[in-house]
Symmetry: C2
Amino acid sequence: MYILLMNARDRLIESAQELLWERGYVGTSPRAIQERAGAGQGSMYHHFSGKPDLALAAVRRSAEALCALAEAELAGPGGAVQRISAYLRRERDVLRGCRIGRLTQDPDIVADPALRQPLRETFDRLRRRLAEVIAEGQARGEIAADLAAADLAATILAALQGGYVLARAAGTAEPFDRAVDGALALLRRAAPSSS
Amino acid sequence: MYILLMNARDRLIESAQELLWERGYVGTSPRAIQERAGAGQGSMYHHFSGKPDLALAAVRRSAEALCALAEAELAGPGGAVQRISAYLRRERDVLRGCRIGRLTQDPDIVADPALRQPLRETFDRLRRRLAEVIAEGQARGEIAADLAAADLAATILAALQGGYVLARAAGTAEPFDRAVDGALALLRRAAPSSS
DNA sequence: GTCTATACGCTGATAGAC
DNA sequence: GTCTATCAGCGTATAGAC
């Protein structure tokens, strides 16, 4: 177990990341984090001022990981539609949902500007990056140029996030896959040759 | 205040609906529900066996309300794309999010089949209804017939749910509006005349 | 740095009076 | 039906020893 080799501070952050993903902010207690990390009260309150402080460190780390994963696909080979397809169809545990997206439902996260900032930045970055890829596809004649790249980027990211929501409600990945397939089908239809 | 005229049972359900929307299941305590409803412990435990039982009643009621609202737009006048547009652009308090969608992030809801069932049924119904409207649009030559209606329905519903997620992260409705606009632009592009 | 002790309010419920 | 106890356990710390 890798986690056992880390120092207490990192173990606490990683445990907080896991629990925030599984149970959200409201559903995650300092005690539960400590137990998972194998650390005591004193250790946690030595490294962090409290639950919000530890959560902030955890959220920031998760946000970075998420952006890195996205970039791996979006900077890959192929045309715009192909890279977006690779991003959307990347292998995932759909029913776990998005570790950042799920936090938008946490009232205590959204209410705290410091805690919400990483969420905003993450989705802003992803939208901008997707818009870049789309604009590239438009410049190369892959996608109709009269469609607003920023809008399409938002639609694609929203379809992804909403796909998780539908999948968790259904208890299966099926709606997620449909949502992704539908989005890609529409995107392919938006080729200039089709107009 | 209408709520003061209702009996305790209905006040409890309505208060639970509000709190579940605002704070989710994990973030909502029986005590908070009682306070908002102006009812005591005894009253709540007389009408409901406990928190899950009351939550179930509240979720069912919210689910019905949601489906009714959707149906009002989807059964309205105009063509398929126009009705879907009316549905997506219906006036909403975007930052509040979806009262059903937000519950998919609640571990205790998803883990309990009885509590999850209304979520599954709601989104299944909405997807089927949207697919019907789309199929109608395809039969009338409004939308290309070679696109899978079930996939497009999932995409549209996911864009809606994901739009809420992005908006809550951003702290403004802007990403929601973009996601909706992008989805509608793509849908209009998918007309047979464009292929 | 990490541990144990201590604290106080809240959670989710039960029991019994009225 | 509704109210008021009462309860064991958890949530979120603080204090101080080591």
